[in-house]
Amino acid sequence: MAAQPELEHPRKAFGWAARDSSGILSPFKFSRRETGEKDVTFKVLYCGVCHSDLHMVKNEWGNSIYPVVPGHEIVGVVTEVGSKVTKFKVGDKVGVGCMVNSCRSCQNCADNLENYCPKSILTYGVKNVDGTITYGGYSDSMIADEHFIVRIPDSLPLDAAAPLLCAGITVFSPLRYFQLDKPGLNVGVVGLGGLGHMAVKFAKAFGAKVTVISTSPNKKEEATGRLGADSFIVSRDQEQMRAAMGTLDGIIDTVSAVHPLLPLLSLLKSHGKLVMVGAPEKPLELLVFPLLMGRKLVAGSCIGGMKETQEMIDFAAKHDIKPDIEVIPMDYINTAMERLLKADVKYRFVIDIGNTLKESS
């Protein structure tokens, strides 16, 4: 018989979990392992609320194992390190993103692409190598192998750093890999949410001219004002879309809803690249003619490896790039999830774990 969450590991832990596909979260007692020789344990101070958290608590991907403690944009302060840990010490500001382990021996792992390791262990909601379920950052403490811990530079405020660990790397990685990080390129960003607003910020920092493509005209002012995008197109506006045809070198598409690809392909110049980082549940239609006639491509990308995650954080610190966040108390999470569903957030909720996650509540 499976051990209860409270008893399966030696150290007490506390967090909030969803217990069924209603997705409603509530206080939850569980436990975490002892700090092993390669482990880093830290007190969680902040945790970002990713749209994946919402998908998982509601079992929208059909693979949720309840109770689910979500959260994979976790930052805090180191409280203990194992005897073989070399990179971190007590008091360091650190974070954990979407993974807590991988096989460490396949070609992908050797190439610093742990995110593509077939045996990678996600930070929450999956079976760990010891058979127990992983629990994420909506909790008071976190533990992970030092390889999966990133350092948060002092110049980055911890609360704003949290969303870098998933939203940040998810757009940074393909901008680099698909070479959309060269100055002077025209880069489009579809969707202006957690991922989209980070794509705008990084692309601008790389020296690109950025066009935001959105279904909501009311996001234009912020996009071109505070976020610094160079232009804004309403995707339902045929005129605007037509005027922008064949102008973009690349597009980062963050939209998870099913949507037509053809209009986006038309915005690309020849040899242009459409990179999907949102994953709609249903297949999209791909017309082959436009791909052929302009030598265009459609690619996908999934978070990032540990080395590039650290590079991304250091880049963000150097260029003063911070996610735009709304800090919330732990007990606001269910309301936050409802607002997230309606895209009613500019642009990431971050839970103030350190100050508001209390066992007595």
Partner: protein
């Protein structure tokens, strides 16, 4: 009033044309321009029969204006050169492929990617800059701007070189562009027709491991024994497909029928690239999860620029690569088209124009 095809240009020409969407070809008198200062005139000896020719004569793509003289894989001998032509001389063995002109000014033209010029003039069924329509290689001679004429390497047989001008470049170009050139890497070739068999030959010449992916076992022996493929994977065999999951670095997809992409995407390793060069008429389904999970891509590619077409021909000359062909007479073209529609050819028909095109 528009002049008739016979009268619109000063030089009489003769070929075979389709006059309606039955696609049936028959003798056709027309005309070509005088050889200008930048032009090369070639007597056509051979012309390959590309599947696009079949699509166009039947107006499958809705863009055909009749009468249409197809043919964009032609080879022959230079008979005349204009005063500005230095690269070619009378008697040279040359070829003409998919395009005969471009704007020469746009970014793509500047980068020798005339195939992506929005104003590219196709060898047949296309408005020329003077407003008249282009007629292709199922004819006795061609007049072409020197920039769009290719040199055929001396050591290559002319008839088997003809298909290089479309089938050859169409698979060579993406193999270069997408970097499918590292010896030891694994290339999958989906579909074993005119394009597919060239991809196998190029893949082997580049030192790749090559697997042919085909819907039936019919072509297996030839693929391995004659074309040199290393493996043959029957796409309708679920066991074999499962065993091959995540084993290929790249796939060239030459299949023009509508077909599922997911099984092909599954065959790719991380960062794998699926390049489609076939033209299905209907959209394909693309589940985004299939490309996000392994950072894979689906790209398209459309024949090639002139510079890279010459590079491809020189590569063929160096490695002794030509197409596997079935030589036919001009008056067998309609039967050949019917067989092509059934994929009944190993692997390209080539019309023996000089010896069989007669009034």
């Amino acid at each position: 009033m528009a002049k008739s095809p016979e009268n619109e240009h000063p030089q009489k020409a003769f070929g075979w044309a389709a006059r309606d969407n039955s696609g049936i070809l028959s003798p056709f008198d027309f005309s070509r321009r005088e050889n200008g200062n930048d032009d090369v005139t070639l007597k056509i000896l051979y012309c390959g029969v590309c599947h696009s020719d079949l699509h166009i004569v039947k107006n499958d793509w809705g863009v055909t204006t009749y009468p249409v003289v197809p043919g964009h894989e032609m080879v022959g001998l230079v008979t005349k050169i204009g005063s500005n032509v230095k690269k070619f001389k009378v008697g040279d063995k040359v070829g003409v492929g998919v395009i005969v002109d471009s704007c020469k000014n746009c970014e793509n033209c500047q980068q020798d990617l005339q195939n992506y010029c929005p104003k590219a003039v196709f060898t047949y069924n296309s408005p020329n800059f003077d407003g008249t329509k282009t007629y292709g290689g199922y004819s006795d001679f061609m007049v072409v701007h020197q920039q769009f004429v290719l040199q055929i390497p001396e050591n290559l047989p002319l008839d088997a070189s003809a298909p290089l001008l479309c089938a050859g470049i169409t698979v060579y170009s993406p193999m270069m562009y997408y970097g499918m050139t590292q010896p030891g890497k694994h290339l999958g070739v989906a579909g074993l027709g005119g394009l597919g068999h060239m991809a196998v030959k190029f893949g082997k010449a580049l030192g790749l491991k090559v697997t042919v992916i085909s819907s039936s076992t019919r072509k297996q022996a030839e693929a391995i024994n004659k074309l040199g493929a290393d493996f043959f994977l029957v796409s309708s065999d679920p066991e074999k497909m499962k065993a091959a999951i995540g084993t290929m670095d790249y796939i060239i997809d030459t299949v023009s029928a509508v077909h599922p992409l997911v099984p092909l995407l599954g065959l790719l390793k991380l960062n794998g690239k699926l390049v489609t060069v076939g033209l299905p008429e209907k959209p394909l389904e693309l589940p985004i999860f299939s490309i996000v999970k392994g950072r894979k891509l689906v790209g398209g590619s459309d024949f090639g620029g002139i510079k890279e077409t010459q590079e491809m021909l020189d590569f063929c000359g160096k490695h002794n690569i030509t197409a596997e062909i079935e030589l036919i007479k001009m008056d067998q073209i309609n039967t050949a088209m019917a067989r092509l529609a059934n994929s009944d050819v190993r692997y390209r028909f080539v019309i023996d124009v000089a010896n069989s095109l007669s009034k």
